[in-house]
């Protein structure tokens, strides 16, 4: 069974933000909500590295474990999704998530949190496939069309890759071999455990 994963290659990421705007474009994510972000370490100094981060679709997702209304589920190929009709915007998942993926749009002028929004691996949500409801609440469903996350498909340098864990590990391994360097699989251990 295929297991969907993300991998961001810090040696290739150039902080160009294509992954971020591709996501905005694909799902029309509103201003202020970012399903994906680019994190920079050592900004402006030697050793500067960047990494693109969104929900990593963890095995045994910590967000799901803490959700008081149990709105998370995992697809058979490992994509962590949630039901916005159930979500109460409590914010627990944000604290549980090692990657800071969950986002809470402000709902009112008084700052009450809205329903949580996060990366769906471009796989929609618990609404009929390609329905207007799915599109409006969760965004498009590329996975069901046989396509991968747009953020990864449009990455400027193919730093961000997504798909069946075996395939992307292979692609990445080849790269590391050519480079002759140390692998930089940022976040893999935290997300998927030791079994990479």
């Amino acid at each position: 069974m295929a297991r969907m994963k993300f991998l961001c290659d810090a040696e290739r990421c150039i902080e160009c933000q294509a992954c971020v705007t591709a996501c905005k474009n694909e799902h029309e994510v509103p201003w202020g909500v970012n399903r994906r972000r680019v994190i920079v370490m050592n900004d402006g100094r030697p050793g500067e590295k960047s990494i693109s981060v969104a929900c990593m679709h963890c095995t045994d997702a910590p967000c799901a474990a803490v959700c008081p209304v149990d709105c998370f589920y995992t697809t058979a190929d490992g994509i962590v999704l949630h039901d916005k009709d159930l979500c109460i915007g409590c914010g627990y998942c944000f604290y549980a998530c090692p990657f800071g993926a969950p986002q809470y749009p402000q709902q009112t002028a008084f700052g009450v949190r809205g329903k949580m929004d996060k990366c769906t691996f471009c796989a929609g949500g618990p609404e009929p496939v390609h329905s207007q409801e799915e599109l409006t609440k969760y965004g498009t469903n590329r996975v069901e069309e046989g396509k991968l996350p747009l953020c990864a498909e449009m990455c400027a340098t193919k730093a961000l890759i997504a798909g069946d864990g075996n395939v992307i590990a292979d692609i990445y391994r080849k790269r590391v071999m050519t480079r002759g360097g140390r692998p930089q699989t940022w976040g893999w251990q935290a997300a998927y455990g030791d079994d990479i």
Binding site: E11, E15, C16, N25, P105, T136
Partner: protein, 959 residues
Amino acid sequence: MKLTKKKAAGAGAAAPGLLGKALTRRAFLQGSGLAVGGAAVAGMLPTSMMKKAKAARRIDPDQEIREVLTVCGHCSVGCSTIAEVQNGIWVGQEPALDSPINLGAHCAKGAALRNHGHSTRRVKYPMKKVGGRWERISWEQAIDEIGDKILHIRDESGPDSLWFAGSSKANNEGAYLQRKLAAFWGSNNCDHQARICHSTTVAGVANTWGYGAQTNSYNDILKSKCIVMCGSNAAEAHPVAMQMILRAKENGSHMVVMDPRFTRTAAHADTYVRFRSGTDVALIFGMLYHIFENEWEDKEYLEQRVFGMDRVREEVKKWTPDEVERVTGASEEAVYEVARIMAENRPGTFVWCMGGTQHTIGNNYVRAYNCLQLALGNIGVEGGGANIFRGHDNVQGATDVGPNPDNLPGYYPLSEGGWQHWARVWDVDYEWLAERFDQEEYDDGQNGKIKPMNSGGITVSRWIDGVLEDKENIAQRDNIRAVMMWGHAPNSQTRLPEMKEAMEKLDLLVVIDPYPTVSAVLHERTDDTYLLPAATQFEQAGSVTASNRSLQWRFQVIEPLYEHKPDKDIAYLFAEKFGFADEMFKNIEVVNKQPTSESILREINRGTWSIGYTGQSPERLKEHMENQRTFNVASLKAEGGPVDGEIYCLPWPTYGTPEFKHPGTHVLYDTSKHVLDGGGNFRANFGTEYEGENLLAEGSYSKGAEIQDGYPEFDSELLKQLGWWDDLTEEEKAEADGKSWTTDLSGGIIRVAMERGCHPFGNAKARAYVWNFPDPIPLHREPLYTPRYDLVEDYPTYEDRKVFYRLPTRYASVQATDYSDDFPLIHTSGRLVEYEGGGEETRSNPWLAELKQDMFVEINPADANDADVRNGQMVWLEGPEGGRIRIKALVTERVGRGTVFTPFHFGGRFQGEDLLERYPEGASPYVRGESNNTATTYGYDSVTMMQETKTTLCRVTPA
């Protein structure tokens, strides 16, 4: 273009039950007309955006979706993308995985393109200012009023009183018509972005070895063993180029970045060298010093293919490691190390961008880079080259065939010969054309007189002086009185306070653009100011020339929104109003006052022999686009398929007629290939000898050439001398007699020369010594505003010039004052990945605008402490000519001590004031900020009038 439906993966093989179920459910939901999403969407929005909230787009999964292959409109990499269109609405964007240029990849801008399909922050219909307020008018009224006003000004002040900026964002067809419009109007007063981007490159490389363009390609970098980037921040300016660069690096190529700023590109380099902004000649000659000292130069190559390197060698001797360090700040070890890396890793490529061009001696920088690459034998080889990354998506094309003040399409000169050639192509009487121009003669700046038809027009960097300068000092009949900014941001030009004054002095200001741009708001004009909505790139079809010289066909995605019109249609309307549409469009197909792109390109094909824009018929280009997947990524050559053996999108030169089937040229001047296979050599454009020295190549020639030595360029006489005349057909003979390869409209001379394995432009040496330039050997000269005034005595700038591109131009008189005490910091500028150019279009795209909401200045911690400035604080940045901007401080080691950096994409604020209310309603960009060019200063390149934006001075104080 193809039609698809949203479908499930593997639908063909899938169990119909499952799919069937999905369809029924969808049908049910449609039937029940639910709008469940509404509340949820509103819930997702921050309050600030509530009012702007629109429901997510609708995509009907059961209706057909049209897939249109198009090309990104934001930079010269030329990334393809697939637009999904349903019912005329651009509903989705998919990666073009088949494109050999980007393999589906984009940067932030390219991945946000779909916003162009529904952006609302535009000029929606023609408008004019009446008593200080914007009013809507019709296109008819607009063209009528503007036309009458311009014609009236022409009556009073002659044709040169109109100046207009055309556009590097127009496609080749639009840009070509802009140049043709100026020609038929009777003036050379038109220009575009190339002037302030790579004009020094174009002039520098063309005068060195032949053509003013990138010699290799982004893809070819895959073959480089060493990549040196100087004044190029590709990670932000050409992000998808980094795909190839990083792949090359992974394959063992050594990546070097030399830049005053530790850029995001530098973060990936194996070796980074920081040096003082404005000292590239010293740095490069410092490297050449070690190369000559260690005899690393390619002696055979220099003997066979390069003229004048011995003269350069004399100058290089002066650049001892100590002197290099004194001037540039780079240590002997660092400079030696880069020289060694380049010497040991050949072929190596040298990349430069604005950091190397935007200087008062930009042409010297460019030629210093050229000398370095020539010394190492790196030009004309795969994996080598001068990889000049151009800026805008079609700046190369607009330079080749567009609105240039100093030449005609194809770089034909403004001399009578050049005009005669185009008059023949256009099928108009040369005398008639000549009479359209002002017939007086003016100072040519070289103790002679010249007619405006033959003298270079006023450049985009200086149009403000054409307005403000005393009439007596300008080498044309009157000041510029009317200006059209046709696809050009004003805030990318220096000296904005003076520009404001110039705009206010004009009789007429017309802005033609999808967006209002800073031109609509910088000034306080109340009348005689017009906004005309031009269509975006995605609302018209045409060819665009990427940096690597490939002409991609950009298919039209959607119909123009609102009342927008493509550039070519606007050109037609003006020509009609001015009364020469019949002549100008004589051989161009016009349907409903809309010239067709295909027929315009065919006219370009018929005339542009000099640079091989002749083989790229619309049919061939479209066929290449449709077969993208057949091209090899490293060689860009099709392997099998219908265009087997041709290079992707026929990079110019693609010599001869389309039927001649030249495959296009991937790597310029490459002698290892036959000319019919894209091979070549350096161009013979400067005679056959200079001061008794032979300028033709010696013992070097392209593969299979029948003349196995240097030879001059071809004309009918040479063919006769060689006994090749009878290779021509009778028709060709009739046309070719008395013509050269560039003016023979039959293409026969080119055909015969190439079939004999010879290059039509001859086979000569590259010139390391360019005797027709102010500094034949590139020299270091201190910037006009230098922080090192102590060096001015040794490295002074030029004398002032009385007439240069029709205007007095100051050098020494500016440098005469030492500003470095009051303005101690170097002010340099550049790009951000999220925005482009003047930035109005990208700042009007919410997906991009959200990512960079503040204008800022990068300042080193030490300088920040000296100025008592904290990170994130508002500061005043002030230039020595008085312009000042109120912006945020970003304290970072990215810039060295003594240098600050600002991005140039912001606009909509001016010296602390918000200009929001001057925008037409609903057309202001999401993000506004101070333009850095409010604080930049005077200074222009001595060959091309390039503005100095990379090295000036400033001071920073808390606001």
